[in-house]
Structures are given as structure tokens and as C-alpha cells.
């Protein structure tokens, strides 16, 4: 009798593991870790922006508009509390993503403008700042890619049988992922429109 009972307990534990409980926990944790890295790198970029603006301000004073835009976009992006819980709230996640991609697009426009001022290259620290900014953008791209992969694995587990039952029992829900299409739309440099309709552009994969 005792043997039977312990066997039943063991079997239950086994079944739970078999239903993907451990997989779910592991993948959930991986998503959280990947997300932290994403936040970390976006924060790093937000920290760089004031330095960049300070350095280029003097040289490109004429481009006040774009500078203000960058500063405002940064303020908006950092005003959203970037917490680990963001990934469990699709709406907040969406808002945060839009704010960050606005900063991305404002920054890229600033960089285009900056190209027109070769004098900047001689300002001490400018090249270093650009290297840092590039490095950060690249880290963001890597962190996003890893987050996308982690969420993909997790969502597949949450949705597929039989692990979806386990997921429902323990309240695991599908997590939002980065929407590459929207990102491409927003981060596309503004097209100069001379009356003709907006040209359809090939959506480039935003990293």
C-alpha cells in the first residue's frame, strides 16, 4: 500500500514534468532574462543621448528642431516605467515599444543631419560617442533578437498540446513580442513628399 502510494506521488511528479511544467518555468525565466537585457541596453542608450546632444549642440545649433525632437523622444521613452512586468501587459508593452522606436527614429534622423557637419568629427569625444552609440544600437539589436527567440520558444510551449493545459492551469499566458513591421514603419526616415502619394518602400527588417 505504501509502495503504491509513493508510486502514485512519483508518477504525479513525473506527469507534471511531462506536461511541460519545468519547460514552462525554464522558458519563462529565459524570457525574463532576455527582457532584462533588452531594458538594460535601451537604458544604456537613453543614458548616452544627453551626452550626444550636448556634444553636437554647439556645432549643429541650426538644427534645433531635430535636437529638440531627440530630447523629447528620450523624455517620452524614459517616462514609461520600464519594469520586468511590462512583458505581461501587452498594452504597456506596445506603448513602451512605440516610445522607444520614436527615439530610434529621432536619433537616426539626427545622425543623418550630423553627417552634414564634417567639423563635428574634429570635436573631441564625438567619434567615441558615435562608437558608443553604434555599439549600443547593436547590443539592442542582439538583445531584441534573443528576446524574440526566447518569447517564441515560450509561446510555442504555452500554445501547443499538451503543455497548453499546464500553462492554463498555472496561469501562463502568451507574451507579447516585438512587432518588426511596425518598427520598420516608424523607424523609416521621413520621405520628402512632392505631391505624389507616399511611395511604398520595401519593409526592411528592423533589428
Amino acid at each position: 500500500m505504501h509502495a503504491l502510494r509513493s508510486a502514485a506521488v512519483l508518477l504525479a511528479a513525473f506527469l507534471l514534468a511531462g506536461c511541460g511544467y519545468n519547460t514552462l518555468q525554464r522558458q519563462d525565466e529565459q524570457v525574463a532574462a532576455a527582457w532584462s537585457e533588452v531594458l538594460n541596453q535601451y537604458q544604456r542608450r537613453a543614458d548616452l543621448v544627453p551626452n550626444l546632444v550636448n556634444v553636437v549642440k554647439g556645432a549643429v545649433a541650426a538644427e534645433k528642431e531635430i535636437l529638440d525632437e531627440v530630447v523629447e523622444a528620450r523624455a517620452r521613452a524614459t517616462s514609461i516605467q520600464a519594469t520586468p512586468e511590462l512583458i505581461n501587459n501587452p498594452e504597456a508593452f506596445q506603448q513602451w515599444q512605440v516610445a522607444q522606436s520614436e527615439l530610434t527614429s529621432a536619433l537616426s534622423r539626427l545622425l543623418v543631419v550630423v553627417e552634414r557637419y564634417p567639423d563635428l568629427k574634429s570635436i573631441s569625444g564625438f567619434n567615441d560617442l558615435m562608437a558608443q552609440l553604434e555599439g549600443t544600437e547593436n547590443r539592442i539589436a542582439v538583445a531584441r533578437k534573443r528576446y524574440i527567440e526566447a518569447v517564441q520558444a515560450y509561446n510555442v510551449t504555452v500554445r501547443s498540446f499538451p503543455t497548453n493545459i499546464t500553462a492554463r492551469v498555472f496561469g501562463h499566458q502568451v507574451k507579447p513580442n516585438f512587432t518588426v513591421q511596425d518598427e520598420a514603419q516608424i523607424s523609416r526616415p521621413p520621405t520628402v513628399d512632392f505631391g505624389a502619394g507616399p511611395e511604398p518602400q520595401p519593409a526592411e527588417p528592423a533589428g
Partner: protein, 293 residues
Amino acid sequence: MVVRAAVRAIGAALCLLLLAPPLRAQLEIPPLRGPVTDLTATFTQEQVASLEQRLREFEAAEGAQIAVLFTPTTQPETIEQYSIRVAEQWRLGRKGVDDGVLLLVAKDDRAVRIEVGYGLEGALPDVIANRIIEQVIAPRFREGDYYGGVVAALERIMAIIEGEPLPETLRRPQERGAEDVGAALPVFLMLLFVVSGVLRRIFGTLGGAAFAGGAAGVLVWLLTSALGMAIGAAIIAFLFTVFSGAGGGRGWSSRRRGHHWGGLGGWRGGGGFGGRWGGGGGSFGGGGASGRW
């Protein structure tokens, strides 16, 4: 019959679909055979040998792994995208220390990137990597002096890493590909031991063994969704249940050792080093810098 055939055909098609490479053709990553991989025939054999010797000595002394890859192009990807894929596959640097560096040159693209592992991002930040590219590599590459540029860049990188207090060089920890499974292995064996005894008592030796085998197979399949492993586990569980009832304590230890070979332990172990140079399991997060010449 027709239905079954149709189902089978659809299944086969799906399998093919799953096995097919992703639609967007990406450049293949060359296997890591040594510290220097030259796909462009830029270097002479002596140059490669000399570079490799220097890098191997450096690794023996400092522990950090540096690799050089010359490729004609990284198209259709950017050099950053290709570089991180190479870094992820090669896994340069020690596991946990993450002290790997990849110097990637896309010769026809005239692009170069220094990819820095997590553990060296402090010693070799983007700014420094960028300076090495702009001041050391680009001027020499512009004159066609690829070897000189690479040597000078590597010397700079090595000098920087030498200044960094990294953990002592230990024997490189063995790569543990089957880590997840490995972690579950003791639990699995313990459960198997208990459960097999119980099952044997209930169903008799053969019945219990069949039951244990089936259950183990299904469980492993659900856990790992690798059919081969599931079958392996089923066979182990079956044999285990049969034989652990048969004898006394005498054969136990040898049998237990037998388990490790059986399914789980040997799985994915094939990628070992065997004297060949390979990555130590370091991670990269996109640190470093790129440039053109």
C-alpha cells in the same frame, strides 16, 4: 487507406518543411578549426601558422580566446548580424568568463568588425575597439597590408587583455551541450530506481519493465521532444527494470555506469575537442565596433 496515405504524405511534407533551411538565405558559418580561418586566401600558410601559434600561446597564458575570420563577404546580412551569428556558433572564450574576441574581416565589403565577449566589454569597450579599427586596421588595410593590419590589431587587443585581471587559466571546462538533460539525469535515475522496483512488484518483471520503458519513453519524449532520446530512455528503463530485479548488489555499480553511456550521457557529446581547437563556451552580447576602410 487513402486517408492514411494522404495523412502520411502531409506528414512527410511537413517534415520536409521543418527540415528545410530558412527562406532567407544566410551565409553559412565556417566550422571553427583553428584560431585563424581565412576563406579569402589572403594569408600564406606561414602567416596563418604564425598567427595561430601566437594566438594559441596567448590563450594558454591568459585564457582568453581570440579568433580571426576572413570572409569575402557577409551579404545579405550586415557585418554585425553575421558577426554575432559566428560568435554565437563558435562560442569563443571560456564559459562563464566570456573572454572571447572575434576579428571579422569581410574583404570584398571592405568591412571589419571586432566582436567582444561579455567578459571583455570592460577591458575592450566599443570606443577602444573602434579606435583599433580606425587607427590600426584601416590605414594598413587601405594599403593592402592585411597581414600587418591583423598582426598589429591582435597585438593591441592582446596587450589590452593582458592588462585585465582575468581568472587564472584552468583547464577549459568541458563543454556540456546536454546541460539540461544532464541536470535532470540524477533525478531520472533515482526515480527510475524507485519506480522500477515498485512496478516490478506490481506487474512482474517483464510487465513492469515494459511499463517502465513505455512511461520513460513517453516522458522523455514530452520533455525533450527528441524521439531518438525517448527511444533510448525507454530501452534503458526497460533493461534497468529487468536487470535490477535479477541480481543482488554485485552488478549494480557496473550497471549504473552502463546508464551513462546509454542514452542521455552520450547524447550530443560528439562535438568534443579531441585536440582540435574549439570555442570554450563564451557568450557575446553584440559588444565591439565595426568599421570600413
